[in-house]
Amino acid sequence: MQNIFSKICKRILSVFCLLCLFLYFPACSSRNRTDGFIHYRLNYNPTTLDPALIVDVTGGVISAKLFNGLVRLDESLNVIPDLAEKWKISDEGTAYIFFLRHGARFANEREVTAYDVKYSFERILDPHGKSPNSWVLDKILGAKEYMSGKASDVEGIEVKDRYTIKIRLANAFSPFLNLLTMTAAYIVPEEEVKKWGADFATHPVGSGPFTLRKWEHNNQLVLERNEGYFNSRARIGGIIYRVIPEDLTAVTEFELGNLDVIAIPAYEYARYRRSPKWRDLISSVKGLNTYYLGFNCSRPPFNNINLRKAVSYSIDRRKILETFYEGRGRLSEGPVPDLLRKWNLCATGDYDPARARKVVEREGALNRVVDFYITPDQEMVDIAEIIQSFLKKAGLDVRIKQFEWSAYKAAINRGDADLFWISWWADYPDPENFLFPLFHSANHGASGNRARYTNKEVDRLIEAGQGSISPSEGNRYYGIAENIIAEESPWVFFWHKTDFTLRQPYVKNYRIYPIYSMDKGLEVSL
């Protein structure tokens, strides 16, 4: 009996080994690669590729390759021509005339005209449309009336001729050109949108350097070089984005050569940094982001500025950054990332646990229980526990509450938490993007100001900055506003994260950009 079964077991094993051998050649020789194509990883399947609907970075990264705006950002974060060859600003910063380049074509070979710009912008503002991105263009004159259904078109969008479009704003708004670099301001062809209807989200047609060849949902997206691109063509034949949710799987795929570039997972950073084989192939970029511990400033105990500052003194941010975070960022002193700050920021006080404890005692908050909301993300859990231990020494009893992401977001938008951990990433490279949504009192909750911070002077300064004509004038207002914010500590400012990627040795001219919309995929080669 035993013999029979050992024979059967051996047979099963040999069948499995034979199967592996049989599969060895197709698996290894092809190695999931297509010649001339660069292979990237996506953490998850993009939900939509319709620029009107995109709200996530993944969708933004891909749509940047498929579409163009009137303008885009260069490597130094300057606004440069894209579909618009040049532009003129007049009427004290309220009128913009864009001159479109001739010969730029959509992937369906029709030329891009000023009428397409009008259609694309009005589509974002359409009261019957589904776009959640109307805030990008609602500064245009007549946009509010159009959005509320009181006007049949947007007064401030005027097609002068086939290649010229004039856009008038309701008021001067200094970041306007920056806003036009965003996904929502990409130009789409009306006939394709109408042809596909809701399915334009999965059949995007733009004028970008690549076109979508195939989208196998949850598996891979294949972009092909647009041979008729109006600018210099991409050096690669195309891009394959593989959807790989698990970090370790992506690392395995990379080490097997099936991926050409990966974002380095936090727990692999030290290994690659030490590895002689890989360390020279790491690229990094100072991210335009701010990680912070937010207070609920609208209710006790953290409506008390002194207590907020005490929390700030009690946490050794530098130590956390250097040890736990392995130096993968720059210490932040205020909400605006260092790369965008053109003014001096007064230091608000370093780690001082004794002082923190004294303030907590003085304010009568000793052993006070505070609720700290986080998501189950392991990095966030670890940071929360570190913060909890620092605050315990300061005399505050932190109760960590974990919520799944959707519930977490709803809770902090409602203002349920005393403390919460979150980050803010730039949509466009302007200090205004880190001040208006996050600290203006009109934006409490889901609009960005989750700390529910209110200061009329800060509101006034941010609005003055938005209405400035010159960047230097705007920076003056923003500088004063940021100093007040840093002094009043509605957040504990932690760090500006630096992003790291790892590439294969044969990947040339690869760059990592601080904003997703900047990478058009034109320079990289294999």
């Binding site: 035993q2 099963i12 698996a27 589904k130 891979q220 698990e246 097997l256 099936n258 959707s406």
Partner: protein, 290 residues
């Protein structure tokens, strides 16, 4: 109705994920209206049921794709994975379970029991990663992730098969040990029937009843998707789809997946009952053969 109520009782709001990080109350209200979340729960339920009666499961809030079409496209992948796992687990589980029972107390029994307990105790996310690291990174014989042909299917199937194998082997062992003490086996031996025939025809046939139940339960649950395995191996199945729906509070997706999953589970149970009919004469309706 229970599923709908439970889905709605989940904390969180899909609108906040739909509108992104920066949105005005007007936009939030507009999107809420767009997806019908502004209506009362009862009206939403009536709306959903009337859609369902027409054979429509609605569209995903995020991708705007038809939920039924998505499930339809992912189900073959899930079915393939479940079938692959069962193809590995069932024969090996039954054979080794039988061997373990027949050699009770021997080395083979101890080894098989230890391995079974190990496979049952080790979480799938760990065993999956280990299997991937060994076969893909070390031996370089199978791709670590992706959805596609047999070479992509083998590792996730093997991962899923481990706990299923362990359960089947253990249940087979217990069941066989129960059957071998039955008087009819003694009678069969007394009749001089060959030992191999006793094992195959008398013992196995009678011991199979609880094993069929376990196989049915495992297969039914795998058909509802194996979230962790599908995530680790980047397999585009129903499990990942359901999980993403739950995480994003994509109610039409959650509802659609649960309804289809429940139907599948019921069908598998029905199939198991039909198999009983052939395996166990006691469950046949008396007189059915007249």
């Amino acid at each position: 109705m229970i599923t709908f109520a439970l889905t709605k009782a989940l904390p969180g709001d899909p609108v906040y994920t739909l509108v992104g990080e920066r949105s005005s109350p007007e936009i939030i209200e507009k999107v809420r209206k767009e997806i019908g979340a502004d209506k009362g729960t009862v009206r939403q339920y009536i709306g959903y049921v009337s859609l369902l009666i027409k054979g429509d499961m609605g569209r995903s809030y995020y991708t705007n794709r038809k939920v039924f079409d998505d499930i339809k496209s992912k189900f073959p992948n899930t079915l393939a994975l479940a079938a692959g796992a069962m193809a590995i687990a069932v024969p090996s589980g039954i054979l080794l379970g039988l061997l373990s029972a027949l050699k009770k107390g021997g080395i083979s029994d101890r080894v098989i029991s230890t391995v079974s307990i190990l496979f049952l105790s080790v979480p799938v996310f760990w065993s999956g990663l280990m299997i991937m690291l060994f076969f893909s990174l070390r031996l370089k014989i199978l791709p670590p992730s992706g959805t596609g042909g047999l070479q992509y299917m083998l590792l996730p199937s093997l991962t899923l098969a481990l706990p299923a194998f362990a359960t089947i082997a253990r249940v087979t062992r217990v069941s066989v040990l129960d059957v071998v003490t039955m008087p009819f086996i003694r009678t069969a031996r007394a009749k001089g029937i060959k030992e191999s025939s006793i094992n195959a025809l008398h013992i196995m046939k009678n011991a199979l009843i609880p094993v069929v139940t376990v196989i049915g339960l495992d297969f039914g649950s795998y058909l509802n998707g194996a979230v962790l395995t599908e995530t680790i191996f980047g397999w585009d199945g129903v499990g990942r789809f359901t999980m993403e729906g739950i995480v994003k509070r994509d109610y039409p997706v959650i509802m659609g997946c649960i309804i289809v999953g429940t139907m599948l589970f019921v069908m598998i149970n029905l199939l198991v009952d039909v198999i009983y009919h052939y395996v166990d004469p006691r469950v046949r309706i008396h007189g059915a053969k007249r």
